[in-house]
């Protein structure tokens, strides 16, 4: 069998495939890119051609503008695309809407580049699919054994308990705009929270995009100061950066929470002054 380095090797611009002449999630503008998902540390603007799932292409267009790349090439989940004899298949990674593992096959060798992935259920995207392979190249974001995350449903239940316990206060949840925010909303809906959820303006476009791709989020309303008094007893979702800024002053004695895997480590919520995780 051929050596795996012949198929995929690290370069300063990112993981490169010489026989197919493409990069996977390159950090610099390149001619041909395969993008696993829409987060900014993986998806950048300015490549010549981008192969990604239709959802990821839509997210990139929303974030960077319609001209984010020269040519868009949509690869639906499970559909092989051949480039110079190298076969690339995008397979669900279970991370965010459109997220995929890149399965690269060439001369009998199968390499899987995981991209960011999770193996737990997520109501906003199809679940991670294991693919038999010779080489698995994995992200290790929460690789240290200090990260053993509790079930998401359990954390949502904690949030709802707190809302019931402190009805005079606003519950302010910090969540990243792509993926985490919609996952929190969808989990709240599953847990029976059917009141309007108030969202920071920075989340609105991506929420609409999720809904357009068939992820139902229920009634949402902008968390602007004119919409509804001081938001006592409501749940408000905002990007983490907004929680500590002037934007958050409009809320009634807020209880602040972060929907982030990093919060597992106690020193972090303490630093961020969040009162529950």
């Amino acid at each position: 069998m051929i050596r795996p380095e012949a198929l995929l090797r690290p370069t300063p611009a990112g993981l490169y495939c010489p026989p197919g002449d493409f990069y996977i999630d390159p950090v610099r503008p390149v001619d041909r890119a395969v993008i696993t998902h829409g987060h900014a540390d993986h998806a950048r603007a300015g490549h010549g051609t981008v192969l990604a799932t239709p959802q990821t292409l839509a997210i990139m267009a929303e974030r960077y503008g319609a001209d984010f790349t020269g040519v868009e090439q949509a690869g639906a989940y499970g559909e092989a695309v051949v480039r110079d004899g190298v076969e690339v298949t995008l397979v669900p990674a279970g991370h965010v809407l459109g997220s995929a593992q890149a399965v690269v096959r060439w001369q009998g060798l199968t390499c899987v580049v995981s991209g960011d992935y999770k193996r737990r259920r997520d109501p906003t995207c199809p679940g991670f699919e294991p693919v038999p392979c010779d080489v698995f190249i994995t992200e290790a974001t929460f690789g240290l054994p200090v990260f053993r995350h509790p079930p998401a449903e359990q954390e949502i239940a904690r949030l709802l308990r707190s809302v019931a316990q402190f009805p005079d206060r606003t519950h302010l949840v910090g969540a990243y705009a792509l993926g985490k925010a919609q996952r929190v909303i969808a989990l709240l809906r599953e847990a029976g929270w059917d009141r309007p959820i108030f969202v920071h303006g920075a989340l609105e476009r991506l929420n609409r995009l999720y809904e357009a791709h068939g992820v139902a989020l229920g009634p949402l309303a902008p968390a602007t100061s004119t919409t509804k008094g001081d938001f006592a007893s409501e749940i408000v979702i905002a990007p983490p950066s907004a929680l500590q800024d002037r934007w958050s002053r409009r809320f009634a004695d807020p209880v602040t929470a972060f929907a982030s895997g990093w919060m597992r480590v106690r020193a972090r919520p303490a630093r961020g002054a969040a009162s529950c995780r």
Binding site: P145, V146, V265, A274, R277
Partner: protein, 534 residues
Amino acid sequence: MRAFADLLDRLSLTASRNTKLALMVGYLAETPDPDRGWALAALTGELSFDAAKPAFIRKAAEARMDPQLFRWSYDYVGDLAETVALVWEAKPGANREPQLSEVIDALTSASRSEVQRLIETWLDALDPTARWALLKLMTGGLRVGVSARLAKQALAQLGGVEVAEIEEVWHGLSAPYGDLFAWLEGRSDRPSAVSPGRFRPVMLAQAIDEAVDFPRLDPAAYVAEWKWDGIRIQAVNEGGVRRLYSRTGDDISKTFPDMVEALDFEGVIDGELLVVRDGALASFGDLQQRLNRKTVDAKLIQTYPAAIRAYDLLAEGAEDLRHLPFLERRERLEALVARLGSGRIDLSPLQPFETWEGLADLRSDPPEGDAQLAEGVMLKRADSIYEAGRPKGPWFKWKRDPHLIDAVLMYAQRGHGKRSSFYSDYTFGVWTTDALGQRSLTPVGKAYFGFTDEELKQIDKFVRDNTVERFGPVRSVRAEPHFGLVLEVAFEGLQRSTRHKSGVAMRFPRVHRLRWDKSPGEADELTTLQRMLD
């Protein structure tokens, strides 16, 4: 263990004092004896165990997983107890969760090897939060932002009594405090406060309101003395037990062994702890060199010799004097100090005065000597009994007016908690002139209170509108001779400092007024501060 772990977890995640109080009161009300008593002992720092050293815990964790992964995890988390709590693989169903009291019993009575075996089985049975709580409990130092004082306040709330009553009995009690809870819940009488060497809750003074209080107070009914600038202490020698307490009841005997040795009397003295060198009072900065130290060496004791200036006598021999009028206690105190003839314990002299105006003159222009270092004057009703807490009327403090300077706002940092969306911590500077005649600002201090909520909003807006550079949570703001914000800063005193670039350190600086009307060029020079040092 579960309830205790939840308590620690929630305490560690809130910075609000009132929330912490509510959490503790709730826990103490709902948790049965003896667990709540052990939890109280852990919170007040009364527990320590030898069997569970950090090195053992680390070894136990490394034996169960890849040591390199453990080291990476430890590097990432930075706290041993938390790292082990997070990486330990639970064995569900392997064991039952231990009760807090069971853990304490084992830690205090089992052999070292037995304890080490037990620790592993406990860790197997608990979830990460409970593992963290267990490890914190064993290795000491909970670090959840609860002082012994706050825990006592929770007890007072629980029982609907004054915190002074808790303090009065506290030193006669020991964990798990069954008799204390029985009293607080009305199931028995107050536990006896008679234990030799115990702390008596301190009487404190109200700040005087010159406009309101002086017209209605009769100068003939009051005596005055200097308010010495040290730390208020209580010195006890009872039945051979010698103790030195801070005014909140913390036992600081170990920090001042020289002082404890000098307590050659039978009774309880209320006084000020000071550094006195060759009969002359040294500055508060000298005393600071001796505060908060766990161990002291002979050189430190010799360089910063401690002494007590006595204000009051609370007990003499076995006799409690607190119900006597001040002047009677004072007579007994004077006689005792005279008999003692110690160079380490002297009297805080009373300052005769006829009228409030006369006292005002004395306060603003103290005579040469120690009085120059006093913080102000104390007024005590001649007939006042010694009453714990801060009763309104019998005692007043009348501090000297603070020093004021005009300084320029240079840097602002985001606050915490409720103020986290505001730039609320301010570094301010004054002008220096170099050899070429160039003026520049040098930081001289930091202030984060003294302003109203409305003023905070105004400063916050100024900071945001005039940011020059950002360094994480800190912004530097425009501070030029013709543009910037002048802060009138009040402070209590000034010391030389080698740690500050300016060479001076302020005591208790706070924003006194915002001088929107002044341009920064008119702010003070460093030389003004340097002159205050001499």
